[in-house]
């Protein structure tokens, strides 16, 4: 069975979507990714879609599911590399991708993830400090 490879770079998992999403590939990706997020305590997932020539509502739903699942596993998800023609088309189609962060390049996406992870860790520490003060 075809599978979409998942690379690990530091705290981040990198998924490059090159092949067409099929139901079974999409389901396999969701499962593989969830496992890898937990196994590696990954804090971020970067999904590169620059090789895609289109995103339809089926793929939009899958990308949304990946992002939601990652979030439940305490992991941020950033979509990078969307072609302008795709952005125009999915807007006209009506696909909104709620809750999905995007960046233009993989580099920007990495920065965004790093910032998100940092601010979350900071947020947690200050929340703990707050708790300590109140006690």
């Amino acid at each position: 069975m075809d599978r979409i490879p998942i690379l690990k770079i530091g705290d981040v998992l990198l998924v490059t979507i090159q092949v067409d999403f099929h139901d079974r590939i999409a389901i396999a990706l969701l499962e593989d990714l969830s496992e890898k997020i937990v196994d590696n305590s990954a804090k971020g997932v970067l999904i590169d879609i620059s090789a895609l020539e289109m995103v339809d509502s089926f793929m939009g739903r899958i990308l949304g599911n990946i992002s939601k699942t990652a979030k439940l596993l305490d992991c941020h998800c950033v979509l990078v590399g969307m072609q302008p023609a795709i952005a125009i088309t999915i807007t006209e189609l009506g696909i909104t991708l709620p809750g999905i962060y995007t960046a233009l390049t993989a580099e920007d996406g990495m920065k965004l993830l790093t910032d998100m992870v940092k601010s979350k860790t900071n947020g947690k520490t200050s929340a703990k400090k707050q708790e300590a003060k109140w006690r």
Partner: protein, 137 residues
């Protein structure tokens, strides 16, 4: 309107959707559609082919190169002998889905293409015809 050439593809599984998309892509490139319009046409084809497969229980698509005196275009016909659509107006509404989809396929394809036509009879099947035009060059 004259049909200059046409290609028929059956839609029986997910791989066929990809084949339809690739055929459509070839014709849109041949007609020199802009990249944005190519993307729109391929996306509309993908939505409609998936409907033929999922809701129509399989069928076929016909990809045509059509001409008129002033313009040339791509016409896509998606046909199935599935359950049909009881309420067309409802099916065209954004967000309406009897499955687990986003409910954007029909309405979206209509927006992405220039002409949109749908015929459906309960228990007989559905035929969706869409066209996008470009000036002759």
């Amino acid at each position: 309107m004259a049909v200059k050439s046409q290609e028929e593809r059956s839609i029986a599984n997910e791989d066929d959707i990809l084949d339809v998309r690739n055929s459509v892509k070839r014709v849109t490139a041949l007609l020199n559609f802009s990249l944005v319009n190519q993307t729109k046409i391929i996306s509309a084809a993908s939505e409609l082919a998936r409907n033929t497969l999922e809701h129509g229980k399989g069928g076929k698509s016909i990809i045509q190169l059509v001409t008129e005196p002033e313009r040339i275009g791509i016409r896509l016909i998606f046909e199935d002998t599935g359950p049909g659509i009881p309420d067309l107006a409802r099916a065209l509404e954004d967000g309406y889905s009897t499955g687990r989809g986003m409910g954007l396929g029909l309405g979206g394809a209509k927006r992405l293409m220039d002409d949109f036509d749908i015929e459906s009879k309960e228990n007989e099947g559905t035929r969706v015809t869409v066209t996008k035009w470009t000036e002759k060059n």
